[in-house]
């Protein structure tokens, strides 16, 4: 099966918000006024639209993407990136969550990922729903949707590094395979 070039990040839909607006948000989220937003501060500030706590694993993934010094959180400059990242995903999610339920089903997930350039089988979409449906509803909520896209992106990147002739197939040893899935290549 061929694979194409999924986006590195969601398409840039929003104009960048002004600094004063972001600073206000940053101060409200940074509850302990440390100048750094931690996992739990960000988690409390985020909503997945379904009245359940935001997936902590997604929060960790997002923070580690923007936390340059590995300090376990994001400062104001880095927060601008986090804010944009989340609002961009939110806009994408809303496009596919047509009934505004806070969840997307298998078909909507397929449309979204196809839009990003992924070409995957129907069976694999079933696997994705089963794995990322944290609330066990047969559908995927916003936070789990982001996590699903992050995981796919990471695995696709590592696959591409080994698929040097770009034919959609790789040959790897045991240790190479483990290094790929543990993301320590």
């Amino acid at each position: 099966m061929a694979y194409h070039s999924p986006y590195k990040a969601p398409p840039h839909i929003n104009a960048p918000p002004d600094q004063g607006f972001l600073w206000n948000i940053f101060q409200r989220v940074d509850k302990d006024r440390s100048g750094v937003i931690s996992d739990s501060e960000l988690q409390q500030a985020l909503s997945n639209g379904t009245w359940t706590p935001f997936n902590p694993v997604t929060v960790r993934s997002i923070i580690s993407m923007f936390d340059r010094e590995n300090k376990g959180g994001v400062n104001f400059n880095e927060f601008a990136g986090v804010w944009k990242y989340i609002t961009d995903w939110q806009n994408i999610f809303r496009t596919y969550d047509r009934d505004n339920s806070g969840f997307i089903d298998k078909n909507e997930l397929r449309q979204a990922l196809t839009g990003f350039g992924y070409r995957l089988s129907d069976q694999f979409y079933g696997t994705l729903i089963e794995k990322f449906d944290r609330q066990r509803k047969g559908q995927v909520a916003f936070d789990d949707f982001i996590q699903c896209c992050i995981v796919l992106q990471r695995l696709t990147d590592v696959f591409r590094r080994y698929d040097t002739d770009q034919d959609g197939w790789i040959q790897v040893s045991y240790e190479q395979y483990l290094s790929m899935v543990f993301n320590i290549v």
Binding site: F124, L155, T156, W169, Q171, V172, L178, V181, F182, I184
Partner: protein, 181 residues
């Protein structure tokens, strides 16, 4: 509580039973990931990380409801105790964390044929910031469980036992998504 106190059902570890009563703070008869996280600590008293808690909930949640009942918790309890013993055995300097070299020795004893560099890379990936390079019990459990599971995925595809596999893009994704979490 779903059960009268002092009445431990057969097959349930008594220590796990006591913990379950304490941890099930909303007395729902089930433990969710948040309650589990509050119940488990590493040697340095840090809470277990979210990924490991979620992984273990998924392993022991036979009802597929995202939470575990008393029986699931008891099995999970025994599972953690077994890893804890192994962890302490290989934490030779009793630092409460396992270094790359200690992990390499633990994996070799479990029968894995992996390079020292592999263990070093794993530890570096999961090491806590600020601390000296090493992984706590929670990461040790996560890494060892995932290694078992991903080795199984590799073996299923290495039918000729050559130590090399040819893998399509979707098969690669599918193996990792299905078994890594």
């Amino acid at each position: 509580s779903i059960l009268p106190s002092g009445n431990i059902p057969p097959g349930v570890n008594p220590e796990a039973y006591q913990w379950f009563q304490t941890v099930d703070t909303d007395h729902s008869g089930f433990i969710n990931p948040k309650e589990l996280k509050q119940a488990l600590v590493n040697s340095n008293y840090s809470a277990f990380n979210d990924e490991t808690c979620l992984m273990m909930i998924n392993m022991f949640d036979k009802t597929r409801t995202g939470r575990i009942d008393l029986f699931g918790f008891s099995a999970l309890w025994d599972f953690i105790q077994r890893w804890r013993v192994l962890f302490q055995q290989h934490d030779r300097d009793c630092s409460g964390s396992i270094s790359g070299m200690e992990l390499q020795q633990a994996l070799a004893q479990m029968g894995y044929n992996l390079s020292p560099q592999f263990s070093e890379n794993l530890v570096r990936r999961y090491a806590m910031r600020g601390a000296r390079p090493g992984i706590q019990l929670d990461r040790f459990i996560q890494v060892c469980t995932q290694l078992q599971s991903m080795t199984q995925v590799f073996r299923e595809r290495d039918t000729g036992m050559t130590g090399n596999i040819r893998l399509s893009y979707e098969d690669f994704l599918s193996g990792a998504v299905t078994r890594l979490m």
